[in-house]
């Protein structure tokens, strides 16, 4: 379908939804509150989260429940966007949301195979029960690697689990599996984006590409700082797509010995400054520099074009960051952090 027909409807819908999003003022107000219950009341009475929290009205609410429902409200966007999309776009959107499924799957693997905390699963899974090809009850009641694999049969996940089966039995290490799941997610996303028009592809790169770049950057930094892996291993583990950092740079970064010197290998100015700042300033959580960078970029992009996928992607990211910020505030309130410190944990807070 030509772009001209494909996007206006969904973009108009998203624009309407965006206008409901929480404002700066809302976050101010939320931070001022003293208990999770008050925060719930605020969200219920003043924001669009009301419809997602309806079932708790008039009840005492637990923080975990609230967080879970905020997260769950996030994945409902999938249905809205799909309703307005052509079939190609639908496939892409469907896969975009698989990131939540993969996160769920990681939680399941970790919980079932390593810690097995009661109720942890039902309190934390947000997406995977939506997948009709998976028998949710059997999945969370599974008790071994092979049982999980069996429930996931016919899905690509089972192939991945199969590939690592022997290795897992030997060393009980989930790390390579998690890496492979992420790897699969991004490579599939990228594959689907290949059929995009050049404009769509541009915005895909601008948003998802930047995201991947920054993930790789943080990864390499952390490995260099805390672990000792060889260049070849690092390169095998990172997500093999790049936007503003090229292969050469990644390679020379992987061979660098000192984490502080990584900056030297990046040519792209904004990243260079970003990494430099992130390394220097130890008062702020390392990850937040990168999230805030993407956050600003999203706000720039979101108004740029009405006839491309930019709006959809920006909306999804911003919506996700919003709920992450709300959850941060909730946690801050719960653990009685000073008000101005809570602010410093928010993605939207300028760094």
């Amino acid at each position: 379908m030509p772009a001209f027909f494909q996007y206006p409807a969904v973009n108009a819908k998203l624009k309407a939804l965006s206008s409901n999003m929480l404002k700066e003022k809302d976050f101010q107000n939320l931070i001022e509150l003293n208990s999770v219950q008050e925060a719930f009341n605020y969200l219920y009475n003043n924001t669009y989260y009301q419809e997602h929290l309806e079932k708790f009205s008039g009840q005492e609410i637990h923080r975990r429940q609230l967080e879970l429902n905020l997260k769950k409200s996030l994945v409902l966007s999938e249905d809205i966007i799909k309703k307005f999309s052509s079939s190609d776009l639908k496939t892409f959107i469907k896969h975009y949301f698989k990131k939540f499924e993969i996160e769920d799957l990681k939680i399941i693997l970790r919980t079932i195979l390593m810690e097995s905390e009661e109720n942890y699963l039902t309190d934390n899974l947000i997406y995977i029960d939506r997948n009709k090809k998976i028998n949710f009850n059997n999945l969370i009641q599974a008790s071994s690697y092979n049982e999980i694999k069996k429930v996931l049969k016919n899905l690509h996940y089972a192939e991945i689990l199969d590939e690592f089966s022997d290795q897992y039995q030997k060393n009980k290490n989930l790390f390579p599996i998690e890496m492979t799941l992420d790897f699969y997610y991004f490579s599939e996303l990228n594959r689907l984006a290949e059929s995009f028009s050049s404009k769509d592809k541009k915005y895909f790169d601008e948003i998802i590409g930047t995201h991947i770049d920054l993930l790789n950057l943080q990864w390499i930094y952390r490995i260099k700082r805390y672990y000792n892996l060889s260049s070849g291993e690092i390169l095998n583990y990172i997500i093999p797509y790049h936007f503003k950092i090229n292969r050469k740079e990644l390679q020379s970064m992987s061979q660098e010995n000192k984490s502080e010197n990584l900056v030297k290998h990046i040519a792209y100015q904004p990243y260079q400054q970003l990494l430099e700042k992130a390394i220097k300033d130890e008062n702020v959580i390392f990850e937040r520099f990168f999230l805030n960078y993407i956050f600003k970029k999203l706000h720039q992009i979101k108004t740029e074009s009405f006839f491309t996928i930019s709006n959809i992607l920006a909306y999804l990211y911003i919506r996700e960051y919003e709920s992450r910020d709300i959850i941060t505030v909730l946690e801050g309130i719960r653990y009685s952090l000073p008000k101005d410190r809570i602010k410093n944990f928010l993605i939207r807070k300028e760094v």
């Binding site: 079932k55 009850n137 590939e163 260049s231 291993e233 095998n236 292969r247 390679q251 061979q255």
Partner: protein, 639 residues
């Protein structure tokens, strides 16, 4: 006939009866339970540990590995008694062990076979090299690693191993994997292995015992493969023995565990529990209830059973069970394409069935072709046709077939031949304008009926706003009739029925009523003449709606022209076939054309007419009175 009356029941009972009461409810195939959180917060939804689940899963796997058929036709509840899990475990343990052992061996064989096949594949590539492969393994300064990777990862590996001094040599590849040698200096061996590990490589060990040149290795591997085949045969024989010996007892257990596993799941999903009691709520049909209540109160003295009628349909959202005679049911399946009737709605199945049959006859009137439909329907009914077992199709075919035959005699049409039998009533092709007008009249009748249905529905639900002021309510109905009468009178007499000013006045008043639907409705129900929206918004919205309404009357009515058009279309197509057959000179040829032509008409036009009627029903008729937003009852079932 129609929709069954539902009641919401509640059961409060002793916890020790919980399993058997669940069983009773499962036996009754028309009970739906509500999820716990929907009705009670005070009872904790404490989860009972389902100790059947693990046993059931185990058994399920055993049945799978023994290849036993798990489909159980009818569960015989009376034969069920509590499973003694300990006994079950004792019974199953030796079988499990045996199976485990066999499966372990099979797995080993699989691995071995895979390895051998791999080996053969790759050694085959080197079959012309005259080196002892073994000697490559024991080099003093260089390590040799033979391994495989997925293609994607291999490509990345090649790009990524720039730093470590290793040599990667591709040996072979298929669609997704690459096999290769990696040569590394001894002191870099660990580094090389780390990198390969991070790519999740699969090492292929050259077998220890195997010595010699590639060709010899190949022979040995093949020999070993043959041996594996023989062992496999023995294993499958063992499996068969096991199956034979334990079959009936395993299936017995399976049936019991299946039920009890489900019962415990139901207990967890649908029941609220306190220390001694449990509580549950669900839907049951009124006619079903009496018996069920009697059963429960007779069997379990200490159970409190209570039920209440549906008070607020919107809030409670009861499920719908339609009950109809078989042949209407088959049309219900078409109605379901649109949606199930809401609990308090009229079930439109009968009306739908009658109008469908009528319209089909009018649009596809042919004595011969109708007869073919009827015979086809009978054949399906008698299970004579292998690939269609659906009784619905049989009923539908028979009824529309008869209708088609009836109208065929009216039109005097037999297999598209118009001159073989006399027309009993009319030949549509000779009276085209009359015929089109006539079908529009039928359409008008159907539309009026559907508006009356809407009136009936809304009065029944006490929705007076909809009943009095909506475009398919009373105001709408009067407006529509008023327009029709005036038009008809003007059409026949060429003058106005009433003075133009009166007509305009009545017209405008009726339109105003529809326009002011919401404030008037509020006046009626809450005694206030106001609206909840902004006035400007309301005016804009209603103005468009009004425009759409008036246009809608016209288009809905004219839409029925297609009924007449298809009658003519049918005659037209038949004529084309007849002309074609006459063009062929020999007798057999023209008969063949006639037969093939008739088949084409029946399939092509039959489908098109069928769909067109569905369209008429759904868009023109259902839209007026039928919401179709009901939900189906989901009974408790074993599976």
């Amino acid at each position: 006939m129609g929709i069954k009356i539902m009641k919401k029941f509640q059961i409060l009972g002793l916890k020790r009866n919980i399993d058997s009461i669940t069983e009773e409810m499962m036996r009754n195939k028309e009970i739906e339970l509500l999820k716990t959180e929907k009705y009670h917060e005070n009872f904790k939804s404490s989860q009972i540990k389902n100790s059947y689940k693990s046993c059931f899963n185990k058994l399920d796997r055993i049945l799978d590995s023994l290849n036993l058929n798990k489909i159980i036709e009818n569960i015989n509840f009376d034969k069920l008694n509590k499973v003694d899990l300990e006994k079950f475990k004792d019974f199953i343990r030796p079988i499990q062990q045996k199976i485990d052992k066999l499966e372990r061996i099979t797995k080993k064989l699989d691995a071995e076979e895979k390895r051998l096949n791999n080996l053969i594949k790759h050694v085959y590539v080197m079959r012309n090299i005259d080196i002892e492969l073994q000697s490559l393994k024991n080099l003093s300064y260089i390590t040799l690693i033979f391994s495989s990777l997925s293609q994607e990862r291999y490509e990345r590996l090649i790009e990524n191993v720039t730093e470590v001094p290793v040599l990667v040599l591709e040996v072979n590849r298929d669609q997704d994997r690459v096999w290769f040698f990696t040569f590394a200096k001894k002191n870099y061996q660990q580094k090389a292995l780390d990198i390969l590990n991070s790519a999740n490589f699969q090492r292929i060990e050259l077998p220890e015992r195997v010595k010699g040149q590639p060709r010899e290795i190949l022979n040995q591997a093949r020999h070993r493969l043959n041996k594996i085949e023989i062992i496999r045969d023995q294993i499958s024989l063992e499996f068969k023995k096991l199956k034979h010996r334990h079959q009936s007892q395993l299936l017995d257990y399976y049936q019991q565990l299946l039920v009890f596993n489900k019962i415990t799941d139901v207990n967890n999903d649908f029941y609220g529990k306190s220390d001694y009691f449990f509580i549950t709520t669900g839907w049951i049909s009124e006619e079903n209830e009496k018996e069920f209540e009697k059963l429960i109160s007779n069997k379990y003295k200490k159970v409190i059973y209570s039920s209440q009628e549906v008070k607020n349909v919107e809030e409670e959202n009861p499920p719908t069970i339609i009950e109809n005679p078989e042949w209407i049911k088959s049309f219900s399946s078409l109605v379901k394409l649109y949606g199930l009737p809401k609990y308090n709605e009229i079930d439109p199945s009968l009306f739908f069935a009658l109008s469908y049959i009528l319209l089909f006859g009018i649009m596809f009137g042919d004595l011969g072709q109708g007869f073919v439909f009827v015979s086809l329907g009978f054949a399906i009914y008698k299970n004579k046709i292998d690939f269609i077992k659906n009784k619905n199709a049989a009923y539908i075919l028979i009824s529309i077939g008869f209708s088609s035959m009836l109208f065929g005699t009216f039109y005097g049409s037999l297999f598209g031949l118009e001159d073989l039998i006399p027309a009993l009533i009319i030949r549509p092709m000779d009276n085209i304008m009359f015929w089109l007008g006539f079908t529009v009249m039928i359409g008008i009748l159907l539309l009026i009926t559907s508006m009356i249905f809407n009136l009936f529905n809304s009065f029944k639900n006490k929705d007076y706003t909809e009943a009095l002021f909506s475009d398919s309510g009373l105001s709408g109905l009067i407006l529509y009739l008023f327009l029709l009468v005036n038009l008809a009178f003007y059409g026949i007499q060429s003058k106005l029925l009433m003075p133009a000013s009166v007509i305009a006045a009545v017209f405008i008043i009726l339109l105003l009523l529809i326009f002011l639907k919401e404030p008037l409705g509020n006046l009626l129900t809450e005694q206030r003449f106001s609206i909840d929206k902004k006035i400007s918004e309301y005016i804009l919205e209603s103005a468009f709606e009004l425009f759409d309404t008036v246009l809608g009357y016209l288009s809905n009515t004219l839409s029925f022209l297609r009924v007449g058009a298809f009658t003519l279309n049918h005659v037209g197509l038949s004529m084309a076939v007849i002309i074609l057959s006459e063009m062929i000179n020999n007798y057999a040829g023209s008969l063949l054309v006639l037969i093939v032509g008739n088949i084409v008409i029946m399939v092509l036009e039959g489908v098109v007419v069928g769909i067109q009627i569905l369209r008429l029903e759904f868009f023109e008729i259902f839209a007026k009175f039928y919401s179709g937003s009901g939900r189906e009852l989901i009974p408790l079932k074993i599976k």
